[in-house]
Amino acid sequence: MNPYVAVAALFLMVGVMLLLPLIPSLVELRGKSDALPLSVVQQNAGEIRHFANSFRDYIKGIEPTLQRCVADGTTGTGTLANGEEYVALGRADEALLRALEQRDALHPVVITAGVDLAVPGESTLSKEIYAGCLFTGGSKNKYRAILGENSVHLGASSHVTRWVHALGEFTAERECQLYGRISSDSLIRLGADCVFLRLNAPRIEIGDATVNQDTTSSPVPASVNSAHAQRFFHEGDFEVQAGETIRGNLVVRGNLHIRSGARICGSVKSTKDLVLGDEVCVEGSLISAQEMLIGANCAIHGPVVAERELAIAAGSRVGSLQHPTTVSAPWIKAEEGSLVFGTLWAREHGEVVANQ
C-alpha cells in the first residue's frame, strides 16, 4: 500500500473513532431537544392547598349545572374541559351512590354534590369528589381526593391516596390511611391507629386532644429574632435537671436529656438524640439531628424537627392558635391526646398511637 494512503487512512480512522462518541452530543447541541432550564417550582412551592385550589378552578365551569341540579333535585352529567366525565348530584340517596360506586370499577367519573353526601361503606371512588355541603364516608372506603366546602368525615379504615381539603372540620375515625395532603381551614381530628403523611390545619387533634387543653402552660414564643440571646454551646452529652430553667438558647453536640418540669426560655438543638421528660416547656424551636422523644404534657412553641424518628406523648402540644408552627420528621408517632397547631408532616410515615 502507498505509505501516504496508509497514513491518511490512519488519520481518517482515528478521526472517525474520535468523532463517533461525539455524534449524540453534536445531535443534541444542534437539535436542543433538552435545552430548557430545569423546571423550578416558582409559584406554588409546597403549598398544601395547591391541588385543592387547582381542582376548584378545574370544576368551576360546572357550577351552574350543579346549582340547577340542586334546585331541581336531579342528577346531571357532562364532560369537563379535558374530556373527563362528571356527575352533578342535586340529590344523593344511597341507591344512587351505590350505582356510582359500581360504575367506578369500569368507568370512574368526577363526582360533584351540591347537597349533603353520605357515601356508603366499602366503596371505591377513584376520581375526585367535590362536596358542596357535608361529606360523610362509611367505613373501609377508598378515595382519590375530596374537596369539601363544609366538614368532611371519613369512616373507620378509610383510605385516601392523594389529598383532602375541608373548609370545615376534617375527622377520620380509627385506622384510616391518609396518604398525600390532608388540610382543613378549621380542624383535623384523627382516630387511633390512623396513618398520615402531611397534615395542615389551625388545630390538629390526635385522638381526643381536648383533655390536654388546660393542663399545660402556653409557652411564650421566642422567635428567631430573639436569638441575640445567649447561646449555650456544649460538646458532648448534656442533661437539664428536673425543674431547672435555662434562659437562652441551648446547642448540644451530643445527646440531650431535658428532665421533667424543666423550662427552656429559648430554642434547643441536639446533634444526637433529644429526650424531653414530662411537662417540659420550650419557648422556641426544638431540633434534633437524630431521634426525638417528647414526654407527656410538654408545651413547645416550635418548630419541632427531628431528622429520624419523633415520638410525641399524650397531653403535649406544639404551637398555639395564635402562633401555628410545624412538626416535621421522617417517621412520627403521635400518641392520642397530643395537639399540634399548624403542620404535622411525616415525610415517610406518621401514625397515631392509641393510648394504653
Partner: protein, 413 residues
C-alpha cells in the same frame, strides 16, 4: 521526581475517591432535607440584600420577583445594595422604592473599596434583623424561596444557608449548556452529598442567608477576601456555626454566555478560594476550633479544590519528565500509568458525578453533551492554573487584585 509524582497521584486519587463517594451517597444514601418541611411558623423579620454593580439589565427582574414572594409583607425588607453603579441601576431602584413604599430601602454606595464584600459590609448599617438573605442581581427567586431559606435559622446551630442555583439561559450556546451540567453536578450531587454526610456545604454568597449574630461573632464581612462566600463558610465553621445546603430551594441565575467572561469568573473564584486556603487551611486542619474531624478533613479538601489544577499540570509535566528520563521503575511504566490513571480516573469521577446529577434532575437528552465537558475542563484547568500562578506573582510583586464583575447578557427591561 518520581516521589513528587507519587504524592500528586495520591492526592488526585483522594479527590477521585471523594467524587465517587459523594455520587454514590446521592444515588443510594440517606438524603438530608431537615428544614424544607417547615411551612408554618412564626416567620422572623428578614432583610434581603441584593448586591448590584451596574445591573441595569437585570435589577428590575429580581426586585419584581421579591415583591411577589410569599412572606409576611411586614417582616421582609429588601435592600438593593447599589455599589457605585454608573448605569441606570440607581434610577431603576429608586423607581421601585417609590412604587413599593416601606418594602424596599435603597442603599446607594458612591465611594469606597471595590468588591461585593465591601459593599455588603457598608450596607450592614441598615440591617437590624437576625436573618439576612443575599442575592446577586441576576437571580430570580421563586415565590416560596424566602421561607425555605429562612426555615433553617430556627436551628440555633445554623449560621449560614445556601440554596441551589439553576441556570436560566441554558440553551443559548455550548458554554451555557456545559455550565448547566457543571452546576447540576456541583449542587445536585456535591453540595447535597456534603449536607447528607455532615461535611462542609459551601456558602455561595447568593441564594443564601446568614445569621446576624453569627456574622457579628466572626467579625462581619471580610472585604479583603476575593470570594466573600468561601471566606464566610470557613469563618463560620471555625467558630462553631454550620452552613446548611437546601437542594430544593432553587433559584434561577444567568450564566456567562461567552468564554472570556467565564474565564474571568473562574479565575476570580480560584484566587478567592486559594486565598481562603492559605488563610484558614492550617487553622482548620490542625488548629483548636469547633469543627468535627470529618469537617476538618472535608473542609481542607474543599479548600484545595482550585489548587488541583496547577497540581495536575505539574503532575503531567513530571510524568513526562520521568518517562523520558528513563530512570523510573519498570522502564517508566509506573510514570505512564500515573499519568493516565489520574487524568482519566479523576476526570471520569467528575463525569460520573455530573451524569448522576443529570439523572437525579430527571432530564434525559442533555447527558449526551457530557463528552464536551472535556473542553470545559481543559479551559478550567488552564484558567485556574493561570490564576494560581498570577496570584503567586502578585504576592511577590505586591500587585493589588482587581475585582471583576461578571458581565450580564439579559436584555434590559
Amino acid at each position: 521526581m518520581i516521589y513528587a509524582l507519587y504524592i500528586i497521584v495520591f492526592v488526585i486519587c483522594v479527590y477521585t475517591g471523594r467524587h465517587y463517594w459523594f455520587t454514590l451517597n446521592r444515588l443510594f444514601g440517606f438524603q438530608r432535607h431537615p428544614y424544607i418541611d417547615i411551612d408554618t411558623a412564626d416567620w422572623p423579620p428578614v432583610t434581603v440584600l441584593v448586591a448590584a454593580h451596574n445591573e441595569e439589565k437585570v435589577i428590575a427582574n429580581i426586585l419584581d420577583a421579591l415583591m411577589t414572594v410569599k412572606y409576611p409583607e411586614d417582616r421582609i425588607l429588601v435592600i438593593p445594595v447599589n455599589d457605585r453603579s454608573t448605569d441606570r441601576t440607581r434610577e431603576i431602584i429608586d423607581k421601585f422604592v417609590q412604587d413599593f413604599p416601606g418594602r424596599i430601602q435603597a442603599f446607594h454606595r458612591v465611594i469606597g473599596k471595590g468588591g461585593k464584600a465591601a459593599a455588603l459590609k457598608d450596607a450592614m448599617e441598615l440591617v437590624n434583623t437576625e436573618v439576612i438573605l443575599i442575592f446577586d442581581a441576576d437571580y430570580i427567586p421563586g415565590a416560596g424561596l424566602i421561607k425555605q431559606l429562612v426555615a433553617p435559622f430556627f436551628d440555633l446551630e445554623v449560621g449560614g444557608v445556601m440554596g441551589r442555583v439553576v441556570p436560566l439561559n441554558t440553551g443559548t450556546n455550548l458554554l451555557t449548556r456545559l455550565l448547566d451540567l457543571e452546576r447540576s453536578g456541583g449542587y445536585q450531587v456535591d453540595q447535597q452529598a456534603r449536607m447528607n454526610l455532615g461535611l462542609v456545604p459551601q456558602h455561595g454568597g447568593t441564594v443564601a442567608g446568614v445569621r446576624l449574630s453569627a456574622l457579628r461573632e466572626i467579625g462581619g464581612w471580610n472585604d479583603n477576601s476575593l470570594t466573600e462566600d468561601t471566606d464566610l463558610t470557613y469563618r463560620l465553621l471555625l467558630n462553631g456555626w454550620k452552613t446548611v445546603y437546601q437542594n430544593r430551594s432553587e433559584c434561577y441565575e444567568e450564566v456567562p454566555e461567552i468564554w472570556p467572561v467565564r474565564i474571568k469568573q473562574i479565575m476570580r473564584w480560584a484566587k478567592g478560594h486559594n486565598q481562603a486556603m492559605v488563610t484558614y487551611g492550617f487553622q482548620l486542619l490542625l488548629g483548636k476550633n469547633h469543627a468535627t474531624l470529618r469537617e476538618r478533613i472535608d473542609g481542607t479538601l474543599l479548600l484545595g479544590v482550585y489548587a488541583m489544577a496547577p497540581l495536575t499540570l505539574l503532575g503531567w509535566a513530571l510524568a513526562l519528565g520521568v518517562f523520558y528520563q528513563g530512570v523510573a521503575p519498570l522502564h517508566g511504566v509506573i510514570a505512564l500509568l500515573s499519568l493516565t490513571a489520574y487524568a482519566a480516573l479523576g476526570n471520569l469521577a467528575a463525569f460520573f458525578e455530573i451524569a448522576a446529577a443529570v439523572r437525579l434532575d430527571g432530564t434525559r437528552k442533555r447527558i449526551s453533551l457530557l463528552p464536551f465537558l472535556i473542553l470545559g475542563f481543559a479551559v478550567s484547568i488552564f484558567s485556574v492554573s493561570r490564576a494560581a500562578f498570577s496570584q503567586v506573582r502578585d504576592l511577590l510583586t505586591g500587585a493589588e487584585f482587581h475585582w471583576d464583575k461578571t458581565e450580564r447578557f439579559r436584555k434590559a427591561l
